[in-house]
Protein backbone atom coordinates (compact mmCIF):
# COMPACT_ATOMS: atom_id res chain seq x y z
CA UNK A 1 0.00 0.00 0.00
CA UNK A 2 0.95 3.59 -0.42
CA UNK A 3 1.82 3.85 3.27
CA UNK A 4 3.76 0.58 3.46
CA UNK A 5 1.38 -0.97 5.98
CA UNK A 6 0.33 -4.02 3.95
CA UNK A 7 -3.18 -5.42 4.20
CA UNK A 8 -4.30 -7.25 7.34
CA UNK A 9 -3.29 -10.92 7.24
CA UNK A 10 -3.03 -10.91 3.45
CA UNK A 11 -0.10 -8.71 2.56
CA UNK A 12 2.83 -8.12 4.91
CA UNK A 13 3.91 -4.56 5.70
CA UNK A 14 7.11 -3.02 4.37
CA UNK A 15 7.11 -0.25 6.96
CA UNK A 16 8.98 -1.52 10.00
CA UNK A 17 9.25 -5.04 8.57
CA UNK A 18 11.86 -7.15 10.37
CA UNK A 19 12.14 -9.27 7.23
CA UNK A 20 13.91 -6.42 5.41
CA UNK A 21 16.40 -6.10 8.23
CA UNK A 22 16.97 -9.81 8.76
CA UNK A 23 16.94 -11.09 5.18
CA UNK A 24 18.01 -8.26 2.86
CA UNK A 25 19.64 -10.78 0.52
CA UNK A 26 16.25 -12.38 -0.22
CA UNK A 27 14.53 -9.18 -1.25
CA UNK A 28 15.89 -8.62 -4.81
CA UNK A 29 14.80 -12.08 -5.95
CA UNK A 30 11.33 -11.63 -4.42
CA UNK A 31 10.90 -8.41 -6.39
CA UNK A 32 12.00 -10.08 -9.62
CA UNK A 33 10.58 -13.59 -9.29
CA UNK A 34 7.76 -13.24 -6.79
CA UNK A 35 7.14 -15.41 -3.76
CA UNK A 36 5.09 -18.46 -3.02
CA UNK A 37 4.66 -20.12 0.34
CA UNK A 38 4.68 -18.90 3.90
CA UNK A 39 6.56 -15.82 5.02
CA UNK A 40 6.86 -14.53 8.57
CA UNK A 41 7.02 -10.77 9.06
CA UNK A 42 7.03 -9.21 12.52
CA UNK A 43 5.80 -12.49 13.97
CA UNK A 44 2.83 -12.91 11.67
CA UNK A 45 2.67 -15.60 9.01
CA UNK A 46 1.59 -14.56 5.50
CA UNK A 47 0.82 -16.90 2.61
CA UNK A 48 -0.62 -14.81 -0.22
CA UNK A 49 1.31 -15.48 -3.38
CA UNK A 50 3.14 -12.52 -4.83
CA UNK A 51 3.83 -12.15 -8.55
CA UNK A 52 7.29 -11.10 -9.64
CA UNK A 53 8.04 -8.13 -11.87
CA UNK A 54 10.26 -9.72 -14.46
CA UNK A 55 10.97 -6.67 -16.55
CA UNK A 56 12.77 -4.71 -13.83
CA UNK A 57 16.50 -4.26 -14.37
CA UNK A 58 19.08 -4.87 -11.63
CA UNK A 59 19.42 -1.11 -11.42
CA UNK A 60 15.69 -0.55 -10.97
CA UNK A 61 15.54 -3.24 -8.30
CA UNK A 62 18.38 -1.52 -6.46
CA UNK A 63 16.48 1.77 -6.54
CA UNK A 64 13.30 0.12 -5.27
CA UNK A 65 15.16 -1.51 -2.39
CA UNK A 66 16.71 1.79 -1.42
CA UNK A 67 13.32 3.43 -1.53
CA UNK A 68 11.82 0.71 0.68
CA UNK A 69 14.80 0.95 3.02
CA UNK A 70 14.22 4.65 3.65
CA UNK A 71 10.46 5.21 3.20
CA UNK A 72 7.69 5.17 5.83
CA UNK A 73 10.11 5.65 8.69
CA UNK A 74 12.38 2.79 7.67
CA UNK A 75 16.05 3.45 8.38
CA UNK A 76 17.96 0.60 6.76
CA UNK A 77 21.33 0.76 4.98
CA UNK A 78 21.55 1.92 1.37
CA UNK A 79 22.54 -1.00 -0.86
CA UNK A 80 24.81 -0.80 -3.89
CA UNK A 81 24.10 -2.18 -7.36
CA UNK A 82 27.00 -4.62 -7.11
CA UNK A 83 25.63 -6.04 -3.87
CA UNK A 84 22.15 -6.48 -5.41
CA UNK A 85 23.68 -8.26 -8.41
CA UNK A 86 25.38 -10.71 -6.08
CA UNK A 87 22.13 -11.35 -4.25
CA UNK A 88 20.38 -11.91 -7.57
CA UNK A 89 22.86 -14.54 -8.75
CA UNK A 90 21.18 -17.57 -7.19
CA UNK A 91 17.76 -16.19 -8.12
CA UNK A 92 15.78 -18.75 -10.06
CA UNK A 93 14.40 -17.86 -13.43
CA UNK A 94 11.52 -15.49 -12.83
CA UNK A 95 8.30 -17.34 -12.12
CA UNK A 96 4.88 -16.42 -13.31
CA UNK A 97 2.01 -16.78 -10.87
CA UNK A 98 0.18 -19.19 -13.20
Amino acid sequence: MADGTGLKGLIPPLAGADFLKNSPEAVPCIIRAGYKGKMTVNGQVYETEMAGIVKLSDFEITNIINYIHTAWGNDLPIVQLQQVREWLEPCEKAVKPF
Partner: protein, 204 residues
Protein backbone atom coordinates in the same frame (compact mmCIF):
# COMPACT_ATOMS: atom_id res chain seq x y z
CA UNK B 1 -15.28 47.04 -11.42
CA UNK B 2 -19.01 47.51 -11.00
CA UNK B 3 -19.59 44.59 -13.35
CA UNK B 4 -17.29 42.49 -11.28
CA UNK B 5 -19.12 43.32 -8.05
CA UNK B 6 -22.40 42.53 -9.73
CA UNK B 7 -21.04 39.21 -10.92
CA UNK B 8 -19.87 38.37 -7.40
CA UNK B 9 -23.19 39.15 -5.82
CA UNK B 10 -24.89 37.10 -8.49
CA UNK B 11 -22.60 34.20 -7.76
CA UNK B 12 -23.27 34.52 -4.05
CA UNK B 13 -26.98 34.57 -4.73
CA UNK B 14 -26.84 31.33 -6.65
CA UNK B 15 -24.60 29.70 -4.10
CA UNK B 16 -27.01 30.69 -1.38
CA UNK B 17 -29.87 29.23 -3.37
CA UNK B 18 -28.05 25.98 -3.88
CA UNK B 19 -27.59 25.33 -0.22
CA UNK B 20 -31.36 25.42 0.18
CA UNK B 21 -31.91 22.56 -2.22
CA UNK B 22 -32.53 19.07 -0.88
CA UNK B 23 -29.61 16.79 -1.63
CA UNK B 24 -30.37 15.11 -4.91
CA UNK B 25 -31.36 11.47 -4.95
CA UNK B 26 -28.87 9.12 -6.54
CA UNK B 27 -29.63 8.52 -10.20
CA UNK B 28 -30.38 5.12 -11.69
CA UNK B 29 -27.42 4.54 -13.98
CA UNK B 30 -27.16 2.77 -17.30
CA UNK B 31 -29.04 2.60 -20.57
CA UNK B 32 -32.80 2.96 -20.52
CA UNK B 33 -35.43 1.47 -22.71
CA UNK B 34 -39.13 2.06 -23.17
CA UNK B 35 -41.38 -0.89 -22.43
CA UNK B 36 -44.53 -1.88 -24.37
CA UNK B 37 -46.76 0.11 -22.05
CA UNK B 38 -44.54 3.17 -22.30
CA UNK B 39 -42.80 2.61 -18.97
CA UNK B 40 -39.11 3.33 -18.62
CA UNK B 41 -37.11 0.13 -18.30
CA UNK B 42 -33.95 0.76 -16.30
CA UNK B 43 -30.70 -1.13 -16.54
CA UNK B 44 -30.72 -4.03 -14.08
CA UNK B 45 -28.26 -6.62 -12.83
CA UNK B 46 -29.23 -9.92 -14.44
CA UNK B 47 -29.99 -13.21 -12.63
CA UNK B 48 -26.83 -14.85 -11.32
CA UNK B 49 -25.73 -17.70 -9.13
CA UNK B 50 -22.20 -18.13 -7.81
CA UNK B 51 -20.49 -19.94 -4.91
CA UNK B 52 -18.85 -18.06 -2.05
CA UNK B 53 -15.95 -18.70 0.33
CA UNK B 54 -18.16 -20.83 2.59
CA UNK B 55 -19.53 -22.92 -0.30
CA UNK B 56 -22.85 -21.12 -0.09
CA UNK B 57 -24.88 -20.29 -3.17
CA UNK B 58 -24.90 -16.53 -3.69
CA UNK B 59 -27.57 -15.25 -6.03
CA UNK B 60 -29.90 -12.29 -6.39
CA UNK B 61 -31.97 -13.55 -3.48
CA UNK B 62 -28.90 -13.22 -1.22
CA UNK B 63 -29.29 -9.45 -1.60
CA UNK B 64 -33.09 -9.30 -1.39
CA UNK B 65 -34.13 -6.04 0.24
CA UNK B 66 -30.49 -4.95 0.63
CA UNK B 67 -27.98 -2.80 -1.18
CA UNK B 68 -24.54 -4.14 -2.03
CA UNK B 69 -21.15 -3.04 -3.30
CA UNK B 70 -19.70 -5.23 -6.04
CA UNK B 71 -16.20 -5.46 -7.45
CA UNK B 72 -13.94 -7.74 -9.50
CA UNK B 73 -10.57 -9.03 -8.36
CA UNK B 74 -8.33 -12.09 -8.17
CA UNK B 75 -6.15 -13.36 -5.39
CA UNK B 76 -2.76 -13.38 -7.11
CA UNK B 77 -3.38 -9.98 -8.70
CA UNK B 78 -0.15 -7.98 -8.47
CA UNK B 79 -1.47 -4.58 -9.53
CA UNK B 80 -4.68 -2.84 -8.45
CA UNK B 81 -6.43 -5.52 -6.36
CA UNK B 82 -4.56 -4.89 -3.11
CA UNK B 83 -5.60 -1.24 -3.38
CA UNK B 84 -9.23 -1.95 -4.20
CA UNK B 85 -9.39 -4.64 -1.51
CA UNK B 86 -8.12 -2.12 1.01
CA UNK B 87 -10.88 0.30 0.00
CA UNK B 88 -13.50 -2.48 0.08
CA UNK B 89 -12.25 -3.25 3.58
CA UNK B 90 -12.74 0.40 4.53
CA UNK B 91 -16.34 0.20 3.33
CA UNK B 92 -16.76 -3.12 5.14
CA UNK B 93 -15.52 -1.66 8.41
CA UNK B 94 -17.53 1.55 8.08
CA UNK B 95 -20.81 -0.27 7.43
CA UNK B 96 -20.07 -3.27 9.61
CA UNK B 97 -23.19 -2.93 11.72
CA UNK B 98 -25.42 -1.77 8.86
CA UNK B 99 -27.59 -4.79 8.06
CA UNK B 100 -28.81 -3.41 4.73
CA UNK B 101 -25.43 -3.26 3.04
CA UNK B 102 -23.42 -6.28 1.85
CA UNK B 103 -20.29 -6.70 -0.25
CA UNK B 104 -19.75 -8.96 -3.24
CA UNK B 105 -16.30 -9.58 -4.72
CA UNK B 106 -16.17 -11.62 -7.95
CA UNK B 107 -13.02 -13.52 -8.81
CA UNK B 108 -12.03 -13.01 -12.44
CA UNK B 109 -9.68 -16.02 -12.12
CA UNK B 110 -12.23 -18.57 -10.85
CA UNK B 111 -10.20 -21.58 -11.96
CA UNK B 112 -7.46 -20.59 -9.51
CA UNK B 113 -9.56 -18.85 -6.90
CA UNK B 114 -11.32 -21.91 -5.56
CA UNK B 115 -13.67 -21.92 -2.58
CA UNK B 116 -10.76 -22.96 -0.35
CA UNK B 117 -8.52 -20.20 -1.69
CA UNK B 118 -11.24 -17.58 -1.27
CA UNK B 119 -11.95 -18.84 2.22
CA UNK B 120 -8.32 -18.37 3.19
CA UNK B 121 -8.25 -14.93 1.56
CA UNK B 122 -11.33 -13.76 3.48
CA UNK B 123 -10.03 -15.23 6.72
CA UNK B 124 -6.68 -13.46 6.33
CA UNK B 125 -8.56 -10.25 5.64
CA UNK B 126 -10.52 -10.85 8.82
CA UNK B 127 -13.97 -10.78 7.23
CA UNK B 128 -16.88 -13.22 7.09
CA UNK B 129 -19.45 -14.25 4.51
CA UNK B 130 -22.33 -12.82 6.53
CA UNK B 131 -21.16 -9.42 5.26
CA UNK B 132 -18.73 -9.97 2.40
CA UNK B 133 -19.15 -12.70 -0.19
CA UNK B 134 -16.13 -13.66 -2.29
CA UNK B 135 -17.49 -15.63 -5.20
CA UNK B 136 -16.19 -18.00 -7.79
CA UNK B 137 -18.10 -19.73 -10.55
CA UNK B 138 -18.23 -20.31 -14.27
CA UNK B 139 -15.69 -17.94 -15.78
CA UNK B 140 -17.86 -16.95 -18.75
CA UNK B 141 -20.77 -16.11 -16.44
CA UNK B 142 -18.56 -13.89 -14.30
CA UNK B 143 -17.12 -12.15 -17.36
CA UNK B 144 -20.62 -11.62 -18.76
CA UNK B 145 -22.05 -10.16 -15.59
CA UNK B 146 -19.12 -7.73 -15.31
CA UNK B 147 -20.79 -5.78 -18.11
CA UNK B 148 -23.90 -5.32 -15.99
CA UNK B 149 -21.66 -3.64 -13.41
CA UNK B 150 -20.03 -1.42 -16.10
CA UNK B 151 -16.82 -3.35 -15.49
CA UNK B 152 -14.55 -5.47 -17.60
CA UNK B 153 -13.09 -8.84 -16.78
CA UNK B 154 -11.04 -10.93 -19.15
CA UNK B 155 -8.25 -13.43 -19.30
CA UNK B 156 -5.19 -11.85 -20.88
CA UNK B 157 -1.82 -13.60 -20.84
CA UNK B 158 -0.08 -10.27 -21.41
CA UNK B 159 -1.65 -8.59 -18.36
CA UNK B 160 0.27 -8.70 -15.07
CA UNK B 161 -0.91 -11.86 -13.31
CA UNK B 162 -2.70 -13.11 -16.43
CA UNK B 163 -6.06 -11.41 -15.97
CA UNK B 164 -7.34 -7.99 -16.81
CA UNK B 165 -10.18 -6.24 -15.03
CA UNK B 166 -11.37 -2.82 -13.92
CA UNK B 167 -11.03 -1.57 -10.38
CA UNK B 168 -14.46 -0.04 -10.03
CA UNK B 169 -16.63 -0.46 -6.97
CA UNK B 170 -20.31 -0.50 -7.90
CA UNK B 171 -23.28 0.28 -5.68
CA UNK B 172 -26.43 -1.72 -6.42
CA UNK B 173 -29.78 -1.06 -4.77
CA UNK B 174 -32.48 -3.52 -3.68
CA UNK B 175 -34.11 -3.29 -7.11
CA UNK B 176 -30.88 -4.44 -8.82
CA UNK B 177 -30.24 -0.95 -10.17
CA UNK B 178 -26.75 0.53 -10.26
CA UNK B 179 -26.85 3.80 -8.31
CA UNK B 180 -23.24 4.86 -7.98
CA UNK B 181 -19.68 3.73 -8.65
CA UNK B 182 -16.14 4.84 -7.97
CA UNK B 183 -12.54 4.12 -8.78
CA UNK B 184 -11.56 1.59 -6.13
CA UNK B 185 -7.91 2.60 -6.29
CA UNK B 186 -8.64 6.23 -5.34
CA UNK B 187 -9.36 6.74 -1.62
CA UNK B 188 -10.88 10.19 -2.20
CA UNK B 189 -13.29 8.90 -4.79
CA UNK B 190 -14.19 6.15 -2.33
CA UNK B 191 -14.97 8.84 0.30
CA UNK B 192 -17.53 10.31 -2.10
CA UNK B 193 -18.83 6.81 -2.87
CA UNK B 194 -19.34 6.10 0.83
CA UNK B 195 -21.46 9.24 1.12
CA UNK B 196 -23.50 7.90 -1.80
CA UNK B 197 -23.96 4.64 0.09
CA UNK B 198 -25.25 6.58 3.10
CA UNK B 199 -27.60 8.46 0.82
CA UNK B 200 -28.95 5.24 -0.67
CA UNK B 201 -29.42 3.64 2.74
CA UNK B 202 -31.40 6.68 3.84
CA UNK B 203 -33.75 6.44 0.85
CA UNK B 204 -37.30 5.61 1.73
Amino acid sequence: MRGFVFFCSLAMFFNACQTNFEPQALPILGNRDVGPSGDTIYHQIRDFSFIDQDSQVVNNATFAGKAYVADFFFIACPTICPKTSKQMLRIHDHFKTEPNLLLLAHSVAPKYDTVAALNRYARNLGVGSSKWHFVTGEQAKIYDIAGDYFSIAQEDPTAPGGFDHSGRLILVDKNRHVRSFCDGTDPEDVDRFMRDIEKLLNEK
